[in-house]
């Protein structure tokens, strides 16, 4: 076995956070562990400002920088890269950071000083999945698990592996003001559906499938329905708003991450696809029913308390493709064959529980 040398507790460490919202949330236990570990050192969080908003009022000792600014990388003793990109390793290298820690991916191992090869899977198609992918394949696993191992490599223990977000009062006020404008009282219970998807993306549940779930669920529960989508994903939301009578739509402007988090925290139930909203809701302890199409469920099978994930087994999935590769007549089988009754049943159970 081959571990690395422990990180000095007075090190100046730059942590390159993931670029995806869900992955960022999964990195939260690592941030917490590093902040506690670096007693006499300094922690710099490199991530997009709109994402780091999720850590508002957290990690007060940590500096926050934009990773696209080369100067922000300089002056650190070590860089720990949560991303798998070549670019992040290159930036750390160019900034002269002496110790560069990250998984050996994307041809960047030579730029890193501590570069373990990630876990892989071999052999036949895993049970419960349609296809395994080809060739030398990485093992789909929760990012928080991989990051905890990367931290262990440099002697940092992630004591609590469950991602946790903390709701700020400012977020709550922002979300409540929005709901008030949509005709909901501050404490009024509601269903939240994060229905956005990039145009043409296979990763979002098609609006007509959402409709088949949300209309009967809203009717049966008697709860108002709040529809939400990330910026740039409003087309699916608007199509659905037109099809769901009485639904309130959070749009113009779309909710930012703090507002999304506050809606998730206060909703009776969050319904979403396998997206960033799913991770945000889970990390706030919300009741979640999520549906997955082309994504491998093992990627997000980390610590979760109140979530039910539903998917259907298709021979072509999980393909992880942004665009469904099947001919139009068979396209999006993973979504169209998803049993709506199962989703409804899980949602009803979650509302009762």
């Amino acid at each position: 076995m081959s571990p690395g040398a422990p990180l000095a507790r007075d090190a100046r460490l730059l942590l390159r956070l993931p670029a995806w919202v869900g992955d960022l949330v999964m990195a939260e236990p690592l941030v917490r562990a590093l902040e506690g570990y670096l007693e006499g050192g300094a922690l710099t969080l490199a991530g997009a400002a709109r994402h780091l908003a999720l850590f508002e009022e957290r990690f007060p000792r940590a500096q926050r920088v934009e990773p696209s600014v080369p100067a922000a990388w300089r002056g650190h003793d070590a860089a720990l890269l949560c991303t798998g990109s070549f670019r992040s390793a290159w930036r750390a290298f160019r900034a002269g950071i002496p110790r560069r820690i990250g998984f050996a991916r994307d041809g960047r191992a030579w730029l890193l000083t501590d570069a373990p090869a990630p876990a892989r899977e071999r052999g036949a198609t895993p049970l419960g999945l349609g296809r395994a992918g080809g060739g030398r394949r990485l093992l789909p696993r929760p990012l928080e698990r991989s990051l905890a191992e990367l931290a262990g490599l440099v002697g940092v223990a992630v004591r609590d592996p469950r991602p946790r977000l903390q709701l700020c009062e400012r977020w709550r006020a922002q979300a409540r003001a929005r709901r008030a404008r949509l005709g909901l009282a501050p404490d009024e219970p509601f269903l939240l559906a994060s229905v956005g998807a990039r145009p043409g993306s296979a990763k979002g549940l098609p609006p007509e499938r959402w409709q088949a779930v949300l209309v009967p669920l809203a009717r049966a529960s008697g709860l108002p329905l709040l529809l939400l989508a990330a910026p740039g994903e409003e087309a699916a939301q608007e199509a659905l708003a037109a099809a769901c009578p009485g639904a309130r739509s959070v749009r113009a402007p779309a909710a930012d991450l703090p507002e999304l988090a506050a809606h998730c925290a206060e909703a009776r139930l969050v319904l979403c696809a396998d997206s960033g909203a799913r991770h945000v809701a889970r990390a706030l302890g919300a009741a979640v029913v999520s549906v997955a199409g082309p994504t491998d469920p093992r990627h997000a099978a980390g610590e979760r308390a109140r979530e039910v994930l539903l998917r259907t087994l298709v021979p072509c999935g999980p393909c992880h493709r942004e665009r469904c590769p099947l001919p139009a007549a068979q396209a999006l089988r993973c979504w169209h064959e998803l049993d709506v009754e199962r989703v409804l049943s899980a949602a009803r159970a979650a509302l009762v529980g």
Partner: protein, 327 residues
């Protein structure tokens, strides 16, 4: 560590039948919980291969990493064999996980992660990797009654100490240091020391009790088994343990635990640490060596570890307990 995976498998509606094959002496660990109806203890000397042939499963998930386990599953003709590709057994497995490596050598990662990765090959996805054990109320009451007979009042708070380690002498902290740690815990928190261990560890237990300044309750002459150990851990305020099995009992029962570690990689067991602190000596060039006996003879990784470090770790753990969780 495997309990979350086993429980997820048992609850998985895709499987008509789930059988947990384990060494007979370990069955008591899982008794009393949802896994009890699934247990199939393998008696000492019994043929694992014959058992596999009799059970005739469609798939086997190997949570041990031995070549022998894979060979026996292969020999029994089980069609789907999933596990970690370690010990040269990759070709015997139909589904395998290759753990992370560094410089061509295996990276020490938590065993719980490796087991979860292997379980994922069968689509078994536990909601948490935090282990769980179940102790019957009757077992707790019987334990308390017996401890009371031995002089520990039923409501008394105690620090349980499991000083031995089956792995080898290198993992063991000297008895005098265990005793000193128990005395410090007595002075600071009023916890009475109770010392226990497995068969053959009696001398170690007695040495700890003899070296302590306060009246440590020595259970070396009591009948001891894993079921009683579960109850002992569940009733304890704190466990002070070597890097061995009881540490995981504490994790599974949410009992604060200080583990003294010497020759091992902390990263190998860095899971379920919410109420566990691993105390070890930093900066030793020879550690971790993973040897059963100190190859240099000085055993510095353990001998130089001060009992005060255990006290400090215990103080942090007890202070961090949520309200109402302290025993």
């Amino acid at each position: 560590m495997a309990t979350p995976i086993l429980e997820a498998a048992a609850a998985d509606g895709r499987f008509e039948r789930v059988t947990v094959v384990l060494r007979a002496h370990l069955a008591a660990v899982l008794e009393g919980g949802p896994l009890a109806p699934h247990l199939c203890p393998l008696a000492h000397g019994a043929s694992e291969g014959a058992l596999y042939r009799a059970l005739a499963p469609d798939a086997v998930l190997l949570l041990s990493n031995s070549l022998g386990a894979a060979w026996r599953a292969f020999g029994a003709g089980i069609p789907v064999r999933a596990g970690a590709a370690l010990a040269g057994r990759g070709p015997l497995l139909t589904h395998r996980v290759v753990p992370p490596t560094r410089g061509g050598r295996r990276l020490p990662i938590p065993s719980a992660h490796l087991m979860a990765d292997a379980a994922g090959l069968l689509g078994i996805l536990p909601a948490s990797l935090h282990p769980r054990l179940h102790v019957a109320e009757g077992a707790r009451a019987a334990l308390r009654a017996r401890l009371a007979e031995l002089g520990l009042p039923r409501t008394a708070r105690y620090a349980l100490c499991t000083p031995a380690a089956a792995f080898g002498a290198a993992k063991m902290w000297p008895a005098e240091q265990h005793a000193r740690a128990l005395d410090l815990l007595r002075e600071r928190f009023g916890l009475r020391g109770v010392v226990t261990g497995g068969p053959g560890e009696e001398e170690v237990l007695r040495a700890v009790a003899r070296a302590a300044r306060h009246a440590v309750l020595d259970l070396s002459d009591e009948p001891r088994d894993l079921e009683k150990l579960k109850a002992l851990v569940a009733e304890a305020t704190l466990l002070v343990s070597s890097d061995s099995g009881p540490r995981w009992f504490a994790a599974a029962l949410d009992v604060p635990c200080v583990t003294v570690m010497g020759p091992n990689f902390p990263a190998l067991t860095a899971s379920a640490l919410e109420r566990c602190e691993v105390v070890r000596l930093a900066g030793l060039e020879c550690a971790p060596c993973l040897e059963r006996v100190c190859p240099l003879g000085h055993h510095r990784c353990m001998k130089a570890l001060a009992p005060e470090a255990v006290l400090e770790a215990a103080a942090r753990l007890l202070a961090a307990l949520p309200a109402g969780a302290a025993r």
